[in-house]
């Protein structure tokens, strides 16, 4: 049985971001990279499933991007995937979600994956589209935002996390795609023997041109910092007046007071 998990390498969100020269995405200078947090839940769930079903499962991890994503693929291999696919694309950031989904679909279409796991969204772009778009392009059912997963002989049962902490229980049949939310599991820390084994696992490199046959449906016109906050407001003086001022600021600057 074949499983696919799709990951994206994103910058660490603690970084300070600056637009790149073209002003269309962030400059990579001084950025630390990591696996997209939601994709880690996807990987962990896939690896747990692999452990549950034993060696009958072959687990592939795929990522699109420049050569630096190989480091992310290695980490995920060390978590327990069997093989990795690097779709080499130095300009991955300029592809829109539709194109990303199309690239993965082109790879996955003839492979017969029983299950595909992705994160529910990426931490940098956060469009939350690729997973579902991929499923739609492949013509398979999909469920988003899962926080629980169970598999038995092709029957999948998941729980979606809804607003307010409620969960929705959904059943579906494989082949299917699931997008993962935090709380699904605790991603394992790779053990050293697994890190060493990962060095010898297959890493297939595919130039993106071989897989991309779609035009972008949307483009980024500008990537920029939000309007300056004005360096933070300092309120001093009478307590009652400050309370009024604060409430006014909160109404204006947040969506918390209606």
């Amino acid at each position: 049985m074949k499983i696919l998990v799709c990951i994206k390498q994103v910058p660490d969100m603690e970084s300070r971001f600056k637009p790149d020269g073209a002003g269309l995405w962030f400059s990579e200078q001084d950025l630390a990279f990591r696996v997209n947090e939601y994709d880690e839940y996807a990987v962990e769930e896939a690896v747990q499933l692999r452990e549950q079903l034993g060696d009958a499962v072959d687990l592939t991890v795929l990522s699109i991007g420049p050569d630096r994503v190989v480091e992310a693929l290695k980490k995920v291999l060390a978590m327990g995937c069997d093989r990795a696919v690097h779709v080499q694309d130095p300009q991955a950031a300029l592809k829109d979600p539709w194109q990303i989904a199309a690239i993965i679909a082109a790879f996955a279409r003839d492979k017969g994956f029983e299950l595909i796991f992705t994160g529910m969204q990426s931490q940098d772009r956060g469009s939350a589209q690729v997973g579902v778009a991929l499923a739609e392009q492949l013509g398979i059912p999909s469920v988003t935002t899962i926080v629980a997963f169970d598999y038995a002989d092709g029957a999948v049962t998941v729980k979606r996390e809804l607003e307010g902490g409620i969960k929705g229980v959904v059943k579906l049949s494989a082949p299917a795609l699931l997008t993962c939310q935090s709380g699904l599991n605790v991603p394992r820390y790779p053990t050293l023997p697994n890190i060493m084994k990962a060095k010898r696992k297959e890493l297939l490199t595919v130039p993106v041109a071989e897989l991309l046959h779609e035009e972008a449906l949307a483009t980024t016109a500008s990537f920029h910092p939000p309007a300056k906050k004005g360096g933070g407001i300092v309120l001093e003086g009478d307590v009652a007046e400050m309370a009024d001022q604060l409430i006014a600021i909160l109404k204006e600057r947040t969506t918390v007071l209606r």
């Binding site: 962030f26 579902v132 935002t145 996390e161 059943k171 300092v234 969506t255």
Partner: protein, 304 residues
């Protein structure tokens, strides 16, 4: 310009987020129609057309059917925009509609600008203007980003909507939220108590403020260590890392371990006697005051 608004319905209730869709459409300057998979007794206070499909028939969660129903309405209305909430319902359904129509989708829109739609990026630290390349555009809007001014009113003109096709998933039902100890990572507003509150007896004052602003009570590490507040409310590097829309730090100096736990907050208010407290550098608003005087005053104003 025409916008088709996709309403949300859960546990037999129409969600109020519907009016945010209306507000957004208003900003767009578009005529509107709505789609609701719900029931006739719970239609929105809205004077336009509502395409209504029966939730009892199709189920509250049935992506294939809901997609088909929305597409049927799209067929009839030919909208330029199809607008969803960026919610567990919207982000699940919108890409399906977009894929079927091969339309551009812009997610979690927070504003309309020249040349496109403004969204967040990098955990809200940056902004991205997205320009759709297709004539018809699917949008999801950020919860709370657009507020309907005034009171919505009107009685809609209802048209029945149908869809015939197989479901590819089976919705089993809802599981109520667990009654568990606090999960601050899901809180939208957190009001945290720090050592500056003075003593354990003062914790209820902060808790009252949290309640008044519909938030959760959090705490900095020394307060939890001292046993004033339970551990599940600890915010910081060894407590919970939180990212609420509003974080109010009461009497917290801003030690690195605490900051690291709440730096991702959208908006930070710090209440501290010390104008030079380190937290002031992270705060959007620093209220220089004795927290035990200011917190009750703020609570009173919020309740009043």
């Amino acid at each position: 310009m025409k916008a088709l608004l996709i309403c949300e319905y859960r546990e037999s209730q129409l969600l109020e987020s519907t009016y945010e869709l209306l507000a957004f459409a208003g900003q767009l300057g578009a005529d509107t129609a709505m789609v609701l998979v719900g029931d006739a007794a719970n239609t929105p206070r809205y004077g336009g057309k509502v395409y209504l499909a029966d939730a009892a028939t199709y189920g509250e969660y049935n992506p294939a059917a809901h997609k088909g129903l929305v597409l049927a309405a799209v067929e009839k209305e030919s909208p330029d925009y199809i607008i969803f909430q960026h919610s567990s319902y919207g982000w699940d359904l919108a890409p399906r509609v977009a894929a079927a129509l091969k339309s551009a989708q812009v997610s979690e829109v927070i504003g309309i600008v020249d040349g496109g739609f403004e969204t967040g990026a990098c955990n809200g630290k940056m902004r991205r203007t997205v320009k759709p390349a297709t004539a018809r555009v699917v949008l999801t809007i950020q919860a709370g980003a657009f507020t309907f001014e005034g009171e919505p009113q009107g009685t809609p003109q209802v048209e029945k909507l149908d869809f015939a096709g197989p479901a590819n998933v089976q919705f089993v039902g809802y599981e109520p939220a667990e009654a568990k100890e606090v999960d601050l990572t899901r809180a939208e507003v957190i009001v945290s108590a720090g050592r500056g509150i003075g003593k354990q007896d003062n914790v209820p004052v902060i808790a009252a403020l949290a309640k008044a602003i519909s938030g959760e009570l959090g705490a900095s590490r020394p307060v939890v260590d001292a046993g004033w507040v339970e551990h599940s409310r600890q915010v910081g590097i060894t407590g919970q890392t939180v990212s609420p829309k509003l974080y109010i730090a009461c009497g917290i100096s801003g030690a690195i371990q605490h900051l690291a736990g709440m730096k991702k907050s959208d908006f930070v208010v710090a209440i501290n006697k010390d104008k030079d407290a380190p937290i002031g550098e992270t705060a959007d608003v620093l209220v220089v005051a004795d927290v035990m005087k200011f917190a009750p005053a703020l609570t009173a104003k919020l309740q009043g």
